[in-house]
């Protein structure tokens, strides 16, 4: 990983927060808070697993699954919407991560 860990975590949080903002109608501070919480659960573990295994697809898929439940429970929305949000958020972060690693 070329970027310092904190920076990559903040970028992921910002990106996922922006995605949540589009789909969830809640006070902004709530969305920021939950986006931070969700990413603090998944990001550190995913980073370690990625460094150990290098298997981005499986790790991203696992994060996508875990985040569905976290988004559903924290934002109190239905599963359909949670799946959509988690898919878009993780797709965006995976694409951005790939672009950054190429740069």
């Amino acid at each position: 990983m070329t970027l310092p860990y904190l920076f990559s975590l903040v970028i992921t949080i910002v990106l996922e927060f922006t995605t949540h903002l589009f789909f969830i109608k809640r006070p902004i501070l709530d969305i920021v808070f939950y986006a931070i919480l969700i990413n603090c659960v998944t990001h550190p573990i995913a980073t370690i697993f990625y460094k150990q295994t290098g298997n981005l697809i499986i790790i991203e898929f696992s994060v996508f699954i875990v985040e569905i439940f976290l988004i559903k429970w924290l934002f109190e929305i239905d599963y359909k919407k949670a799946i959509l949000i988690s898919a878009i958020a993780n797709l965006l972060t995976a694409i951005l991560g790939k672009i950054i690693s190429i740069i």
Binding site: M1, P4, L6, C40, V41, P44, W73
Partner: protein, 239 residues
Amino acid sequence: MKKNIYFCKLILILLVLFVPNIFADFIPEGYKSIKYCIKFNNLSDYQDYGLFAVCDTTIPTTYLLNDPDGCYGMYKFCNFKVCVIEKNKVPITLLDTNYRTQISKSDRQWLNSNMSDNNFICKDLNYHPMITVKEENPIVKVVDVMALPNFRDSASNFQKVKIIYTYTNGISEEIPYTNESRPISKYAASEEIKNSIIPIEITSNSLAKNRYFVVIISLIAIIIISIILIIRKNKKKNL
């Protein structure tokens, strides 16, 4: 009351944001990461053996060492081991792999079962990668050249041969090891730059400590989420 809740949330946001500062992969300000890998100068002497690089952690990583010119690395917190087994015992499909290719499921199972059955002879590399230097330091890459030990002799260990520093201008400098400690780059002329080289010494204690911190970040977040969900559930019950 609502103001207080928002204030608490703000405090928690700041807390969660600053906790990762202690995370192992955080590069301190003013430092940069460099490439580090190990070459084995006598790899071709082991053609009758299957040599494997093993990262001995909770999730082991294993790959075949089959390129005599290859430069091999592992994640910095790995307890890097080299394990050998007679080549005729290694599945052919596995012999075709290298550190870049994904090992198939059946090969992975073969590796795991043989590792757990202690069919490999393993030697600990005592892995201390050099991963960060100060930004003004011209080093961009470090290669440690080592000699593989005699795996049948329990007293035999890896021998440090030389270190190759590569600088930002593309020039490389080779310095032989005279003792166990890593020779300091002569090219990085000024004392200030010499002193800024900080090879990170990773002991089993620091490994445990860093893993502990990673778990802490996730754990704090999980605890906060659980509290939120429990409070919500209780509120709904009371309604």
